[in-house]
Amino acid sequence: MASITITSPTSSSDWERGSTHNITWTKSLGGLEEFDSIDLKLYRNGTSGGDYLSLITSINSESINSYSWTIPTTLSADTDYYIEAYMIYEEDMP
């Protein structure tokens, strides 16, 4: 059964605007599943009903588990930012 978990940032992360940090994650795929892509998206004000701000990047390589992100200086300072890792995969027919 496929799964994905973001390991960074965490609740203790404090990233300055203009600085660069790694977004990291772990993922697993079942025996009949095939990796397609991962989208990293930025949200604000909660994960449910929050504001979708932007697509950070889209990754098409299964071997990549991190992304170096330079925080845009246009973002306002806040403690309620979230990143969503959204992995798409295909199921091989038996």
Binding site: A2, S3, I4, T5, I6, S8, P9, T10, S11, S12, S13, D14, W15, E16, R17, G18, S19, I23, W25, E33, D36, Y43, T47, I71, L75, S76, A77, D78, T79, D80, Y81, Y82, I83, E84, A85, Y86, M87, I88, Y89, E90, E91
Partner: protein, 492 residues
């Protein structure tokens, strides 16, 4: 398409902390300057062994103004402050010139340059100033630095303060040019040597004295520059020399207008018109009879004059008047080319002194001339007048010409007993004998004209004073083609 997702924990995005850097204001001036100088040393010269002199070079000054201030719009006070700080730092490290003195001079120069409303480019002025300072300070010449600087600054000050027609930039340019080339007529002379020579020249040659004050010697030097280098003065150098020579020359004031032959009529000039009026002047012929013992009498009210008709327009530039005694009535001399109108005042002559006075004026050219007295009540006498064009020989008389006292106004009587008596019939006269040993035909003709028009009428020969003379026949010998030797004798 199947998918799975995960959200990160909420995390913080914050503003960056202010960067901790050394504020420029907190950097000590000396340290800042030290770094600047070090930079200049390396960048400008590609070596660490740059001399102080080189540090003073124009690029450095330009750098101070632009780089240090990061703008050409830097205020003058700030620019000066930084420049002075820099100089102070640099000078104090190796140079022997007194910092305070250098700074004083520099500041003074800047102040002059900056405050003058001249269009001179500031950077150019600074470059020139720096060049002058730089060279005397560092040149291995024996010239005293402080003295050179003082002279240079004094010169600028003088030029600036006296508001001459020369622009500031031109003055500066010519000053430096003069230092380098004019004094020595060579570019190979060192600036410091040029300065020393110039100053010495001012002190000794111009004033014939070592006690001349600086201001005076500079004044003379600037006057020379103004006339010789720029010709900006209204009096050309050649004219100036000519004037000096003419002052020393002798001159003849004789009746070359032939006033003695002019017709005369009594009357007066009023508001540009001549009105005939008999009886205002009596014995007018005495004015031109060649004798100072007879006089014409002017009488009446307001105006009393005599008009002379020369027959044609005649150029004159003087009127000599002899009075047996001075008087209060004004003596005015008018001219016109029309008998009744267009009369113009030419000169107001001296009326207060007895004896001869020479009144010179700008050349004028009229047919009619009128001499008149003006006062509410007129009753005075004029004894003799001469008008004409002043004759100044183009060359001076020979060395050896001279004068001697003669006693030709005596009568010798022999008594029957054989004794000899002498009766003086007049004052002893003076015989002036002059020789011009090699003169042109033009000058010969001028002397011939003098004799022709003065053989029967005395005239004034001016040389070390006024001599009222008669002239003996002029002896002329042609010594070469169109060259003549001339001997004249004048008797007072």
């Amino acid at each position: 398409m199947p998918y799975v997702n995960d959200f990160s924990d909420a995390f913080e995005i914050s503003l960056p902390e202010p960067t901790i850097r050394t504020a420029s204001d907190s950097l000590a001036v000396s340290e800042s300057l030290s770094r600047s100088v070090s930079t200049w040393k390396v960048v400008e010269s590609h070596t660490d062994s740059v001399s102080t002199t080189e540090s003073f070079s124009t690029p450095s000054v330009t750098t101070y103004r632009t780089t240090v201030s990061t703008s050409n719009s830097v205020s003058l006070s700030e620019s000066l402050a930084r420049s002075l700080d820099t100089w102070e730092y640099i000078i104090s490290h190796s140079d022997s010139v007194a910092t305070a003195e250098s700074l004083a001079k520099s500041t003074y120069t800047y102040r002059n340059v900056e405050t003058e409303s001249d269009s001179v480019n500031t950077s150019e002025s600074l470059a020139k100033s720096t060049y002058v300072y730089r060279t005397p300070v560092s040149a291995s010449d024996s010239v005293n630095t402080s003295e050179s600087l003082l002279k240079a600054v004094e010169t600028w000050r003088h030029i600036l303060a006296y508001s001459m027609g020369m622009s500031l930039s031109e003055s500066l340019s010519r000053t430096i040019y003069t230092y380098r080339t004019s004094v020595s007529s060579s570019d190979s002379i060192s600036t410091s040597e040029g300065l020393a020579l110039l100053v010495e020249t001012w002190k000794y040659v111009e004033s014939n004295s070592n006690s001349i004050v600086t201001a005076e010697s500079l004044s003379r030097a600037v006057e020379n520059w103004r006339q010789i280098l720029t010709n900006s003065d209204s009096l050309a150098t050649s004219d100036s020399l000519n004037v000096q020579i003419r002052v020393m020359d002798d001159a003849y004031f004789y009746d070359n207008a032939e006033l003695k032959n002019a017709s005369r009529i009594s009357g007066y000039v009023e508001n540009g018109s001549f009105v005939s009026s008999s009886g205002l002047v009596t014995s007018a012929g005495s004015l031109v009879d060649g004798q100072t013992s007879t006089s014409a009498t002017f009488s009446g009210s307001d105006y009393a004059g005599v008009r002379f008709d020369l027959g044609s327009q005649t150029t004159i530039n003087f009127i000599c008047i002899y009075l047996n005694s001075g008087f209060s009535e004004l003596i005015k001399f008018y001219g016109s080319n029309s008998q009744g109108s267009g009369w113009t005042l030419i000169a107001t002559a001296n009326n207060s002194s007895a004896n001869w006075t020479i009144n010179e004026f700008n050349e004028c050219n009229y047919r009619y001339y009128c001499l008149q007295l003006e006062a509410s009540t007129i009753n005075s006498k004029i004894d003799e007048i001469i008008i004409g064009e002043k004759f100044v020989p183009e060359i001076r008389q020979d060395i050896g010409s001279g004068d001697k006292t003669i006693n030709d106004k005596m009568t010798l009587v022999n008594s029957y007993a054989g004794d000899e008596y002498a009766f003086r019939t007049g004052k002893p006269g003076k015989l002036l004998e002059k020789r011009y040993s090699n003169i042109s035909q033009t000058l010969k003709n001028n002397f011939a004209d003098l004799y022709e028009k003065s053989s029967d009428k005395k005239f004034i020969y001016y040389y070390d004073g006024i001599n009222y003379c008669s002239i003996d026949p002029v002896q002329i010998n042609e010594i070469a083609v169109n060259r003549y030797s001339l001997d004249i004798k004048l008797k007072t």
